[in-house]
Symmetry: C2
């Protein structure tokens, strides 16, 4: 949507809201629709090509307003999570349309998704162990439980383990900053020998530091074999999996119990909107739902009635699926794919520009929209370069430390970024690097002159 | 703001956003302001009388835009939480303006606030116990910890205890559905005698079922004496404490470690906005912050730099304090007080109408905007009445069960509610009750006729 259409549509929306509030007394306080009304009225997939804004608004009036906040809020979310799941080619076990055990839900953040998965896994592990050994106390089990992630995983995994009161082991990543099955296997073996109980593994697809990918397709089968809950955190990278050429990065998702990524990061959906899927909703709600009868009837929560408050930490919910619905229809799947491809293309452009300047080096494989680079030389030199860049305030970079190397991260992520921006930014960085290297060289030259 | 002003201002805002996006390249990527820039530029209290919308928008341009998302988002939240704290006459220990240990933060829901308080209390208890007995394992301590709330507390307290992996005891409430110090004392005594370790108490001000109030001013001193973390959940009722005549309901807050209410419930702020204050930010962030150095320097986090991501479960944050700022200034404190008083007045009107109909009874003291009532007679009769009301779809009521009584709850909570709506609703309920009682009587009359 361009700026002039945004101005027009935005004002129409203001009128729509004002009309709604003025006429609110004429509306029924409680909807007449029946649970499950919405899905049969909607397509089963997101449109490939964009719809018009007019069509979407007509559907809001026709499909959403009669269903008011409830059940429309829940039902649109169920359908949108299926649409998105299909865009990612998730296995059917994660979808809701056939009324199975799995399904998707919108959370606020990847941190919450990781925490919820860990809590669900903890509850499941405790129940399994207590079923086998009824004499074991819950606290004694918690004390032995161990969660695993790679040493490159996001700090929110450690936070989740602190909150859940369980140990976390960081598995050493390989030379591509990826967790391998053999490294995980080694950690599991040691801990089991020490009498601990492994229960939960987080695989990261697209790490924060350098966008590396844990080896899901080898770690996954190991988790299944060892009966460990496998959670996939693809917070940033997940959006790219809607493109067939990047979907292979998600191979192995079929082994996972839960999968999460943030459409608010790279799929044109405003913050917050974190998409999470589970294979067994009973495992998830079993950790939070207070009605113990529920646990005796695993299938009672499948089918038409989904009570999302048992899927999350807060009780209240916002109508976030509207954002997904509008974005999917305004862009179409092809539009969203083009958006991802454009960013990846710009990252490759930058990578090639960096490689052309012999003063610089690329520090990690450029897979998606993140380019990690540094000046050949000391960490101190690169820290000085970052300081110069961020003080100039033309662009803003966030650094990271990979093993012992301090490096700079260039993330392509703006809705309006163009090739010209990337090249301007790179020329700006090169100029600052030239200044820096000259200043570094000068005192030495001066010292040499004095000596002569 | 009336409908025609809303239409005008809404459209101006659409233009503002479109202009911003069109001209975004001209803006600096990183703000030039220094941390702590905002507070000196703002009044220290919310205005008593309404400001104009024009003045607010001018201040957005002057005060917020130069501070961009960061640090403006954090700093406006700090100032707004102080404004709101002062409106409630919170003790100075909960405010930030003097750079003390306490402070306020916006959470998403009361459930999250309760959970965060419980986790902070758990961490504090574990550290205290391990300092005294270094041989005690964390899991062994968790196993002995007990949290307390009244038997009328919201289910989110039980949920928090499940997530935190600690026991929860429901203290029997008195005949006014309130937790007393003596009932709590009795529960504490029993548990301590059994070798358990009390650590956390939730006092509810304004229960969900009937808006009853735990006896904070007697429970508070007991919690302090016993070294228990005291959390106050005033999710609904808290908004009323901005009126001097209701402030006494919060007496005893000075004994609390954390206090929470939801401005999104009854203070004209859109969902979600849950306001939480703590007396010691180090206790709160100590439970989540991963940098262990922090714990060695308690004062490092006070003063100008507040990193709210350590105060909450998710990492990402929305700019929710803007909602508070706009509402406080559009209404002024007097406007917000008038809004609360109007709702309480309407609840009293309804209470008196109910009392005038001898078929009905009031089931709990009407303190704020909730009226609990029922038909004199069986639970079955009242269940049938509720069914009739909700099937008619003119109004919508949510029931509850108080001890063994099924009763109906009439909540005054709409922004646009007037006396006429309340009376229309009550006449509607009376009419349905008449139909119901007639139908109940008929079969008996018919049976009597047959007998005769």
């Amino acid at each position: 949507m361009n700026s002039s259409e945004f101005r027009r549509r935005g004002k129409e929306m203001v009128e729509y809201v004002a009309d709604y509030l003025e006429d609110i007394e004429k509306r029924q306080v409680y909807p007449s629709v029946q649970p499950g009304y919405l899905r049969p009225l909607m397509p089963s997939c997101a449109p490939q090509e964009p719809d018009t804004y007019e069509d979407i608004i007509k559907d809001v009036e026709k499909l959403i307003m009669p269903g008011a906040a409830s059940p429309a809020c829940t039902e649109l979310e169920m359908v949108m999570m299926d649409w998105l799941g299909k865009m990612l080619q998730l296995p059917e076990a994660f979808l809701m349309e056939k009324g199975g055990e799995g399904g998707g839900v919108i959370q606020g953040s990847a941190s919450e998704s990781t925490l919820i998965s860990l809590l669900a896994a903890r509850t499941k592990a405790v129940r399994r162990l207590q079923a086998a050994s009824p004499e074991m106390a819950e606290a004694a089990i918690h004390d032995k439980l161990v969660a695993y992630c790679s040493d490159q995983a996001h700090s929110s995994v450690e936070r989740a383990s602190l909150i859940g009161g369980v140990r976390l082991k960081a598995v050493p990543s390989d030379d591509k900053f990826a967790m391998t099955a053999s490294a995980l296997q080694e950690a599991l073996g040691k801990d089991k020998a020490a009498g601990l109980i492994p229960f939960f593994v987080v695989v990261t697809l697209g790490t924060t530091s350098c966008c590396s990918f844990d080896r899901l397709s080898e770690v996954g089968p190991l988790c299944n074999k060892e009966d460990l809950w496998l959670h996939i955190d693809a917070a940033y990278a997940g959006s790219a999996f809607i493109c067939p050429e990047f979907r292979h990065l998600l191979n192995g998702v079929e082994f996972a119990d839960s999968f999460n990524f943030n459409p608010h990061k790279w799929l044109l959906v405003n913050f917050d909107c974190s998409a999470m899927w589970v294979k067994s909703r009973a495992d998830l709600t079993g950790a939070f739902k207070l009605d113990p009868v529920y646990l005796k009837h695993r299938h009672q929560d499948s089918g038409l009635i989904t009570d999302y408050r048992h899927w999350q930490l807060p009780l209240g919910r916002r109508f976030r699926s509207l954002k997904l619905w509008f974005v999917f229809r305004m862009y179409g799947v092809t539009g969203l794919q083009a958006y991802i491809r454009k960013h990846v293309g710009l990252a490759r452009e930058l990578e090639s520009a960096v490689r052309q300047d012999p003063r610089f080096e690329i520090c990690a494989e450029v897979v998606l929209g993140l380019v990690c680079f540094r000046l050949k030389g000391s960490n101190k030199l690169n820290e000085a370069l970052l300081e110069k860049i961020n003080t100039a305030k033309k662009i803003h970079l966030v650094p990271c430390r990979l093993r012992d190397q301090f490096l700079l991260r260039f993330a392509i992520c703006s809705r309006v970024v163009e090739s010209s921006h990337v090249h301007l930014a790179w020329e700006h960085i090169r100029g600052l690097a030239t200044d820096l290297l000259r200043a570094e060289a000068e005192p030495k030259a001066a010292a040499a002159e004095i000596k002569n």
